[in-house]
Subunit: 412 residues, 2 copies
C-alpha cells in the first residue's frame, strides 16, 4: 500500500524513518502487505536525503495518484493543511495527522468527510505525542460514560514548572534553559500561554463528550505570571503547581473546560509527572480513574504514534471507524466563572493580622500558609470551595489588600 507524507519537518521525517525501520515487521506482524512511501511533499529541497527521489513540491501529484491510499499530514498550521486533508479524504484516501491545530479547529468536518467517503481520519499523535490516548479513550467510551479529563498536556511548560519546583529557578531562567535545550521555541507563546494545551483539551473534550469545542471558547491562562513564591506556598500546602487542561461534563448538557495553573496534592498521580512528560487522567463511571503517562512530544515518540495510525488505516481499509463528533454548539461551554473551585491566594497588606482576620470572616474560614523568606506584608491562604465568581467577589471585598496571585486548587 502506498503512503504519502506531507511536511518533512521533525515529525514527518520521523514518520519516514520509522516506516523504513519497521518496514518488514509491519508487513509480518500487523498487515499482510508492506507500506511504501511514494511521495514526500515539502517546498524545501533535501538533495542529500536518501529519499530525495520521492520529494515533490506539488500536492496534486499526491491527490491525483490513486495508488496513494494513505496520506500523512505533518505540515502543521491550519492552511493549507485543512484544504489538502479535506481534498484527500474526498478523493477516498485515509489521512493521519499529528496537527492538533487542525483537529481542534476542523475535527468534526474532517471526521464527517472521512465517514462520507468510507475512509478514516486518525490523529492519535495530536495529543500526548507517543502516548496512546485517543484510541484507548474511544475504547473506554464503548462501555463507559466518561465524566472528566484532566491532563498535563504540554511538555515545555511542565519542564519549566519542574525546574521552578525542583531547582528553584525563576520563570525567565527556566524558560531560557528550556530554549537552550530545544524544549521551548524561540517564540514560546503557544506553549507558555497555554494555547497548545488548550487545543489538546478541545480534542479530548470533543472525543469524550461528543461535541466540537473551539479553542477560543476555553478560558486559557498560561504560566508566565507564576513566581517562586507561589511554588513555595504550594509546597507548604502539600502540593505542586501544574499547568492543567481540564474538561468535565456539567449540568444542562453543558461542559466545563479550562486551561490554567492548578494546585495539585502531592499524592495525586499528576503531581509526580516531571520534566517534559505528559499525563492524562480520564474518569469514567464504570472505570474509575485511569492515567496515561509518557513523552508528550519528540520526533520518534510522535512519529511512532503516526505510524501506528497508518497501520490502523491500512488494516481497516474500506471500513470507517465511526469516530465522529457533532459540530460546536452555542452555550455548550459553561462560563468558567460558574465552575466550582478553591483558590490559593497570595497577597500583601500593611496590617497582615487584620487582613487575615478579614479574609477569615469574608470566606468563612481560610487555611493560612507560610514560607521561609517571605517579605514583610506578604501572606497566603487557601479558600474553601465555591464558584469562581463568588470567590472573586469575596476577594474584591477584602480591604487594604493587594492580591498578587490566585491559583485554582483541584481535587485529582
Amino acid at each position: 500500500m502506498n503512503v504519502a507524507v506531507m511536511g518533512y519537518g521533525v515529525v514527518g521525517s520521523g514518520v519516514v524513518e520509522v516506516l523504513a525501520k519497521e518496514h518488514d515487521s509491519i508487513a509480518k506482524r500487523s498487515l499482510q502487505e508492506t507500506l511504501e512511501v511514494k511521495y514526500i511533499l515539502d517546498l524545501r529541497s533535501f538533495p542529500a536525503d536518501p529519499n530525495a527521489a520521492k520529494f515533490t513540491t506539488s500536492f496534486d501529484d499526491i491527490l491525483r495518484d490513486a495508488s496513494v491510499q494513505i496520506v500523512v499530514e505533518t505540515m502543521g498550521g491550519l492552511h493549507p493543511a485543512y484544504e489538502y486533508v479535506l481534498a484527500c479524504l474526498q478523493a477516498g484516501k485515509s489521512v493521519v495527522t499529528s496537527n492538533k491545530e487542525l483537529v481542534a479547529e476542523k475535527g468534526n468536518v474532517l471526521l464527517r468527510a472521512a465517514a462520507e467517503n468510507n475512509v478514516n481520519f486518525l490523529f492519535e499523535a495530536s495529543v500526548g505525542g507517543g502516548i496512546p490516548i485517543i484510541r484507548p479513550i474511544s475504547q473506554c467510551l464503548a462501555a463507559n460514560e466518561l465524566d472528566e479529563i484532566a491532563g498535563i498536556l504540554n511538555g515545555t511548560t511542565n519542564y519549566i514548572l519542574t525546574q521552578m519546583i525542583a531547582n528553584h529557578l525563576d520563570f525567565d531562567t527556566a524558560l531560557k534553559q528550556a530554549q537552550e535545550l530545544g524544549y521551548a521555541e524561540k517564540d514560546p507563546t503557544a506553549d507558555v500561554d497555554g494555547h497548545d494545551a488548550c487545543r489538546k483539551i478541545c480534542i479530548l473534550a470533543a472525543l469524550c463528550f461528543g461535541t466540537h469545542v473551539y479553542p477560543g471558547e476555553v478560558h486559557t491562562e498560561g504560566i508566565r505570571a507564576l513566581t517562586l513564591a507561589d511554588v513555595a506556598y504550594a509546597k507548604a500546602w502539600g502540593g505542586v503547581i501544574k499547568l492543567l487542561a481540564r474538561a468535565k461534563r456539567g449540568d444542562n448538557s453543558q461542559i466545563e473546560a479550562i486551561v490554567s495553573p492548578a494546585l495539585v496534592q502531592n499524592d495525586s498521580q499528576l503531581a509526580g509527572v516531571n520534566d517534559v512528560f505528559n499525563a492524562i487522567l480520564v474518569r469514567g463511571d464504570a472505570l474509575g480513574d485511569v492515567v496515561f503517562y509518557g513523552r508528550g512530544a519528540g520526533k520518534l515518540p510522535t512519529a511512532s504514534a503516526v505510524v501506528a495510525d497508518v497501520v490502523d488505516c491500512a488494516r481497516n481499509w474500506g471500513k470507517n471507524r465511526m469516530l465522529l463528533w457533532e459540530g460546536a454548539r452555542t452555550d455548550y461551554v459553561r462560563d468558567y466563572l460558574d465552575s466550582e473551585t478553591a483558590f490559593l491566594v497570595r497577597a500583601t497588606a500593611e496590617d497582615v493580622p487584620a487582613a487575615l482576620a478579614d479574609a477569615e470572616r469574608v470566606f468563612g474560614g481560610v487555611h493560612t500558609l507560610t514560607r521561609d523568606g517571605a517579605p514583610a506584608g506578604e501572606f497566603a491562604f487557601v479558600t474553601p470551595a465555591d464558584t469562581e465568581r463568588a470567590l472573586r467577589a469575596k476577594l474584591g471585598a477584602l480591604l487594604g489588600v493587594k492580591i498578587l496571585s490566585v491559583i485554582r486548587v483541584v481535587g485529582y
Copy 2:
C-alpha cells in the same frame, strides 16, 4: 447481535449490568445495532434476578444457537472454560474473556483457533482490570520494538504493601485488613504468593515479544516474607518495595521474566501507585516509557473492559484482528540467576563492623543503610549490580553473617 455470558459471578453479572446500562448508547455511539444478552450460563440458580429467564445450565444451548455470535467467558479456571471457549471459536463465535489463567495457559491455541475461524478472541480484562492495556500495546507494537514491561499487576498485594509502608502494619495485620475489606480472598495464596501477577506478566510478555510463556516458567516470589524492617531500609535508601512483574527482551532470542518484591526509587512512576491500583510501564524503542495506571480489579472496571471488547468484536465482525503469538519454546525464558540486578540485603552478625567490612571487600563496595529501632546485630546494605548468580555466590562467601532478606533493586 446476540451475546451469551458464561459465568454469573462478580465480573459476569457486571458485564450483564453494563450491557443493559449502555444498551442504547452502544447502539448509537459504537455500532449500528444493539447488543442483546440471550443466555447466561451458570449452574447456580438466580430466581429473583431480573434476567432469570435468560439463565441456562447447558452450554449446548449457547453452542448450538447460531444467532449467538459473541460469547463472554467469565467463569474463571481452566476447565471447562478452555473446552467451552475453543468450541465456541470453532463454531464461528467470537469470544471475550477476563480469565487470565485461561489466556496465560492457552492463549496461543485460542488465538490460532480464532484466526482459523475468522473470529476474534479478546482478553483486555485479563490484565489490569479496566485499564486499557492489551489494545494500546498492540497499537504501540505496530510502530515500535517493545523492549521491556514492568507492572504492579496485583491490587491485593499492592494494598497490603501500601498499608505496610504508609501505616506500618505488619504483613499479617495488613493481610487481615485486606480480607476484611474484601480486597483479599480467604485463601490469599494466588495473590500473596505472586501467581496472579505471574499469569498477567505471561500474557503481556507473549503479546509484546510474540511467543507464549507458561506461568510455570517464570520465577515467582510473593510478599509473605517481607517485614517492616525491609520497608524501613527501603525508605532509608529513598524508595519503596513493590511486587513487580517484569519481562524484558534478552540476548539470543531469549527473554527475562520474573515476579518478585522489588525496590523502586521514590521518583519512579511506579513508586506512587498505592492501595489497590495497578500500573504498567512499557518501554519501546521509538516511544520511550509509557505508563498506564488505574483500578486493576473490581466488578465495574473489569466489566467495562469486557464490554469494550464485546463492542470491538461486533464492530469487526467477519474480520480477525491478526492478534497472534507463537507457541512456547524451550530455553526461551532465561534462568533468572543470569539476569543482572542489585540486592538490598538485611542481615545479622555478632560483629557488625567486621561483617560490613567483609561485605565491602567481597562486593567491591556496598551502600550501607540504617533504620531507627534496629535490634543490635542487624545491618543492611545495597550491593553493586551483577548477575543474580554472582551476587548470591558473594552473599554465600560472607562469614559469620545470617542473611534475613534479599530484595532486588530495579531501575524504572
